[in-house]
Symmetry: C2
Subunit: 154 residues, 2 copies
């Protein structure tokens, strides 16, 4: 068996030379840690992403939620039905565009954010532990650029 810590294979034939590989490993581990933290709160992963996205953007259409809370439309609609039934979100006519329907957090929903956010921010701080401030700046700026590239059409 090879020593998996060493990097004997030349890049780009090395997995650790692939940004996609590293980011998939990181997000997989992050989701597992977050799942543990969410258990006592009783929200699943997509509900958590919806609730946090709504906290940050206040009011969103379903299409916007699909992008930011990362789900396809049918999954998103089912998740929103459940959250609406539980009194965590409400759908109503948008304040800015009266033809559009917007999703907002209820007061109860805002209470969930208060429970979720500290754990989520804590996990993110753990991810960045011991990364020097100068590297953090480059890292975050590059992630934004990479997201732009990832979203761009071929």
């Amino acid at each position: 068996m090879q020593d998996l810590k060493s990097d004997k294979v030349e890049s780009p034939a090395s997995l650790t030379g692939l940004p996609s590989y590293l980011m998939m490993r990181i997000t997989h581990a992050y989701k597992q840690s977050l799942h543990e933290k969410l258990k006592p709160i009783g929200l699943n992963m997509i509900s958590t992403r919806i609730v946090v996205s709504l906290k940050m953007f206040q009011e969103m259409t379903v299409s916007e939620l699909c992008v930011h809370a990362i789900a396809e439309q049918p999954t998103m609609s089912r998740a929103l039905d459940k959250l609406e039934g539980d009194g965590i979100v409400e759908r109503r006519v948008s304040e800015e565009d009266h033809r559009a329907r917007a999703v907002r957090l209820t007061e109860k929903g805002a209470g969930y954010v208060e429970k979720i956010l500290p754990g989520m921010l804590g996990l993110n701080e753990k991810l960045m532990q011991d990364v020097p401030e100068a590297d953090r700046v480059v890292f975050m700026r590059t992630l934004l650029k990479v997201l732009e590239n990832a979203d761009g059409r071929d």
Copy 2:
């Protein structure tokens, strides 16, 4: 509706200030693009990760594959059964540890790697497009550190 491109909410209350959010958006878009490229090849996502991991490490135990090809043991075992049935991988006694069983690519499996790898490397290059070389160095180094942090126990 808020302008979603602007970043009116103060960090860390901003999604784009959360490394986990950016990486999840990126990996989601990457997986969708890769899925498109894999369609004509006829391998699903986990099979692709297994095949590419084996190409890079040559010989791996099932536990090692779970880490690097990112799946839990039952899912991994089912995927390996399928790949073995299709003549893409073979399981045999490890050359380095005669008590262990190791997974390797067959010649047919190595042929699949040749079809997959160019698309995968191309997508990774697209992710990093227009990122200056100096930033790439910091980005890759930071991803490795973040993965180490993500894998660390609380």
